[in-house]
């Protein structure tokens, strides 16, 4: 069972945030970073990244198969679907389908969320954190959470699980 100790970080626009994720409670999540600032210092290099970038470990880009998002050449940047995210995870990052989010030591898993068949979010479960799920919430905060704690009116439900090959 995951434990969620308190941290000093806070979400940006908390009223909006907790309205979007009504299942969140102090018992099922903890915020692990400040919200990505929309540039606090103009002299510093600036990056804005999202959930997919967080999952693949590239915090310098906004990964998404549409519009101005970065999408690798292995994918189809005009197809914004669960299958397209899964395709890139499969061919570029060596993931394969799996049935659920059961923790398996040493193997990273991801869960893709969709709302009315529209892909909205991806969360990851590292292989060394005892089953905790982790997410970058848009360009708001990073968070540890239970898998279903962020299901709801904004992200919909988990529709696909994948795990990284050994």
């Amino acid at each position: 069972v995951a434990s969620f100790k308190r941290t000093s970080f806070a979400v940006k626009d908390p009223r909006e945030f907790y309205r979007n994720f009504p299942s969140l409670s102090p018992l099922n999540h903890r915020v692990t970073s400040a919200a990505t600032p929309l540039r606090d210092n103009p002299r510093k290099p600036y990056t804005l990244y999202n959930c997919f970038a967080f999952v693949v470990g590239d915090k310098k880009k906004w990964w998404w198969p549409a519009g101005i998002g970065y999408w690798p050449p292995e994918g189809n940047r005009d197809v914004e679907t669960v299958d397209e995210l899964a395709h890139v995870l499969r061919v570029r990052f060596r993931y394969s389908n799996c049935d659920d989010g059961t923790f398996e030591r040493g193997r990273k898993r991801v869960a893709i969320y969709a709302l009315d068949n529209v892909v909205m979010h991806i969360a990851m479960q590292p292989g060394n954190r005892g089953g905790i799920w982790m997410s970058k919430m848009g360009y708001n905060v990073d968070m540890e959470h239970e898998l279903d704690a962020i299901e709801g009116p904004l992200y919909g439900r988990v529709v696909k699980f994948m795990r990284q090959d050994r």
Binding site: E16, P42, N50, G67, I68, Y70, I122, G138
Partner: protein, 129 residues
Amino acid sequence: LIHLPHRRTPPASAAVRERLIAFFKMRQAVTVSSATSRTFDALADLWERETRNLSSVTAITSHPAYQTIIRMGRDVLPLILRRMQQRPALWFDALHRISGENPVKPQMFGNVQRMADAWVKWGTERGLI
């Protein structure tokens, strides 16, 4: 009584005239009414607040406040560019749809800083900021 020699003002050349016209057009472009500015700020704040938790570029740019800003037209170009200088966010689709231009190259996709810089340079060259 001192008679000064008669000084004729040389007629402005076509090039000078064109430069002056461009200058005044630019002044006109960057002068945005305070009502427009207030409306834009309110819509931009709402859009930021309500899309902050999203990753989908399509969902973010489909937000009604974002679409309203696009419909406000060229008057808001300086406002978007100035806001983007301070707070880079996913304004690129709006800028492209309002201006009909796009200085963002495919190799910049995903890099918000580089895309924002390209648009700020575009706006600066046109006297919009």
